[in-house]
């Protein structure tokens, strides 16, 4: 990218953020989205060694559930393919939760502690050892760090004039973020209805070229900051790789 681009946050949290990026092409915006979903690796349980499973579910059913538990993934500490061992030992009557997983690495912990794995009755017991592996969403959806990642154009509203005096006032729903004299206004502020913001006006909505509002949610394995910077880095790495490959 030779063009200048800038980033402005509208909402910023650990697991959810909305930010505006200016000066990127639609293709690049989509590249970022896809990289967040498919190319940023996270740790997820991949192999399970059952010691005892007297619960009502089969080993492989529990294996699937364990794989879907997000694990915190420190950036830069692991290579793709590296593993971390976790163990679980719960006896009934009680419920085995994701928080009962004991990790061999302090940096790698279940991102949420209250995900039920299986309800155990009297005399039922679950004991297992599991290997979490670092891999990408391309390999298996359980490795996706981003949840419902998307973007839409920043929009601006042009007032054409007053609307028909006796015309019916209909709702005019718009979801996203609009730009108003340089100010960013999320449509939540006027209940997503432009007639609340511009009563009695005839308006037209335009996309602002090359300005995209990203909405990024993560499963907790990485923070939004981490996943977006890692996605951008992965695009950059692949671009470098391509440049090397096509050089004489």
């Amino acid at each position: 990218m030779t063009e200048d681009y800038e980033v402005e946050f509208i909402e910023r949290g650990d697991r959810h953020a909305r930010f505006l990026v200016r000066g990127v092409t639609p293709a690049f915006a989509n590249g970022i989205r896809r990289a967040i979903i498919a190319d940023v690796p996270t740790l997820s349980i991949d192999t399970v060694r059952m010691v005892e499973n007297s619960s009502v579910m089969f080993d492989e059913q529990l294996g699937l559930r364990l794989g879907l538990v997000p694990l915190t993934t420190p950036l830069g500490e692991f290579e793709e393919g590296d593993t971390v061992t976790l163990s679980l030992d719960v006896s009934g009557p009680s419920t085995a939760y994701s928080g009962d997983l004991v990790s061999s690495d302090g940096m790698v912990q279940p991102a949420d502690d209250n995900i039920p794995i299986i309800d155990l009755k009297d005399d039922q017991r679950l004991e297992l050892e599991a290997d979490a592996v670092l891999s990408t969403g391309k390999d298996h959806a359980k490795h996706q760090g981003g949840v419902a990642v998307g973007y839409r154009h920043l929009q601006r509203v042009e007032v054409l004039g007053d609307s028909d005096e006796y015309g019916e006032e209909e709702t005019n729903i718009l979801r996203g973020v609009i730009e108003e004299d340089g100010e960013l206004v999320p449509t939540e502020e006027f209940d997503h209805d432009l007639t609340n913001r511009y009563p009695g006006k005839e308006i037209e909505v335009h996309d602002v070229p090359n300005a995209f509002v990203f909405d990024v949610d993560t499963d907790g394995s990485l923070t939004v900051d981490e996943i977006v910077t890692a996605a951008a880095a992965s695009i950059s790495d692949r671009a470098d790789e391509l440049e090397q490959a096509v050089q004489l």
Binding site: A111, N114, D119, V147, G220
Partner: protein, 55 residues
């Protein structure tokens, strides 16, 4: 987010399960916004208790 995280609290509070609160309000308070997340909790039925005796 993983919807399973909110199951126990939703079950304890919603009047459609074991609680006495409006499920819509409970989901809003839990921050479960997307309808595709909400339907998972609203329509879920624990079956382990039914299956357990036949093990």
């Amino acid at each position: 987010m993983v919807v399973g995280e909110y199951w126990e609290e939703f079950k304890a509070r919603s009047e459609t399960k074991e609680g006495d609160e409006d499920p819509e309000k409970v989901l809003d308070e839990l921050g479960v916004e997307r309808q595709c997340c909400r339907r998972m909790l609203v329509s879920h039925k624990d079956l382990v208790d039914i299956v357990a005796p036949y093990q």
